[in-house]
Amino acid sequence: MTQATVLYDLPGPRARRRNAIIGVVSIAAIVGLIGWAVYRFWQTGQFEARKWEQFQYAAVQRELLAGYLATLKAAGIATVLALLFGALFAAARLSDRWILRAPATFVVELFRAIPLLILIFFGYYVPLQYGWSIDKLWALVIGLTLYNGSVLAEIFRAGINAVPRGQSEGAYAIGMRKNQVIRLILLPQAVRAMLPAIVSQLVVLLKDTALGFIITYPELLFVGKQIGGRLAFGLPYVPTYLIVAVIYIATCGLLSVLAWWLQKRMGRARKTSAAVLPTKDFGDAGRTAI
């Protein structure tokens, strides 16, 4: 970064020297921190072959793969359903009729306020209470859909509203009906602006599948806990969780790269008058989605 930022002027010779010193000191501090962590790992025998050995075996790899696929399955189904839910409720919230608008607003606001874990519990315990068996996958998917669908509904609505008024006014002026205005004028422009925020929310959805372990849905983290808890292998929690973390970070990172790529691509081919959803609502193009 040679360009001046809002905080600093272009560094002169003295500032450069000072920055170099701070740089060296902070590198030393960071290396020290990492070194200490590695030392602790080494000292407590985390690098022992016994703790890592089992990952060489196909049986254990198959377990991890099965967990990963279960995670992707739950995330995949919930993504499709949440997008549908979001589209439906965003449409209702944008309606002119209060009879549609009011209940949709209520539902969206309510589900955004309930912790996801509690929604999953609703999906899991309540059917059982009424003697109705439900697969854990669906308990998880219902929770994920209701929560993320509601957030997506808000993203869709904000995206449509972010298209400048002139666009819809012009469309109405040439005699289009509301349905046509939204479908032909607003949506195509809004989608480009919303894409990064949508992808970011889908990263959140993928991460949240990890909550499935509390209702013992056999996703990646649950499998990790099983492998890590094997007493006969000296409870290899540390290596197992490191491997699980790498898988999560790689998968979510891939999606984040996709979001970044979409954003860049939009910046290049700017055929829209809608600004990419502003920081005010969604942080760094949605990357504050939590």
């Binding site: 905080l7 985390q46 306020a113 309930i114 315990y125 983290l221 999560y248 609502d281 939590i290």
Partner: protein
């Protein structure tokens, strides 16, 4: 209806204990992640490449890791490194480490919303770094930081429920206890929902109020 009320009154001590711990977790982790997140945010906008890289790595690792895994790592893996943390502090730490990545991003993008020309003009007037920061950049940046920061904290309040899986008795742990006591789960969960609505509503109202009050035309 009477049954519904009974669920709350019979188990009042469990509910109040659970929600007290939820609020405690929220307050401590909010302060913690505000401090750590601001520090990381400062690193990410600093002129020192090493600090910027560290901040970026931290944010990208934590943001792409499920909070549940952060919890699991602190409770099951970290003790294996001979570093012992009790359950409640572990929950504080997990929430703080995770949330600060998001706070950091809010801080960074907040500062980046201030136009470079503002600071350049201030420097042209001869202001020092601290003056530029204190009177020009921060007042503008803070305005745009407040609403997303509130969103992050509202999300964090809801995230405290994950501690239930790691031996902390907070609101999210109530259903498991109630299952033991044989209470109807629908009523149990409805009361928890109401509890969270009571906690979250003031935050949302505050957020909307601040959003309106701090709105600036750029």
């Amino acid at each position: 209806m009477a049954e519904f009320l009974r669920v709350l009154t019979d188990n009042w001590s469990l509910y109040s204990q659970g929600f007290t711990n939820t609020v405690k977790l929220f307050l401590v982790a909010a302060v913690g992640s505000l401090v750590l997140g601001t520090l990381l945010g400062a690193m990410r906008v600093s002129p020192v490449p090493a600090l910027r890289a560290f901040g970026a790595t931290y944010v990208n690792v934590l943001r792409n890791t499920p909070l549940t895994l952060v919890f699991a790592f602190l409770v099951f893996a970290v003790p294996k490194l001979d570093v012992n943390i009790d359950y409640l502090p572990a929950a504080f730490l997990a929430l703080t480490l995770y949330t600060s990545a998001f706070v950091c991003e809010v801080v960074r993008s907040g500062i980046n919303t201030v136009a470079t020309g503002q600071a350049e003009a201030a420097r042209a007037l001869g202001m020092t770094f601290l003056q530029v920061l204190g009177s020009i950049v921060l007042p503008q940046a803070l305005r745009s930081m407040v609403p997303p920061m509130m969103s992050v904290f509202i999300a964090m309040l809801k995230n405290t429920t994950i501690a239930a899986g790691f031996s902390v008795l907070e609101a999210g742990a109530i259903p498991a206890y109630m299952s033991e006591r044989g209470e109807p789960q629908f009523a149990v969960l409805l009361w928890i929902t109401i509890g969270f609505l009571i906690l979250i509503l003031p935050l949302v109202v505050l957020q909307r109020f601040l959003e309106r009050k701090l709105a600036v035309a750029r």
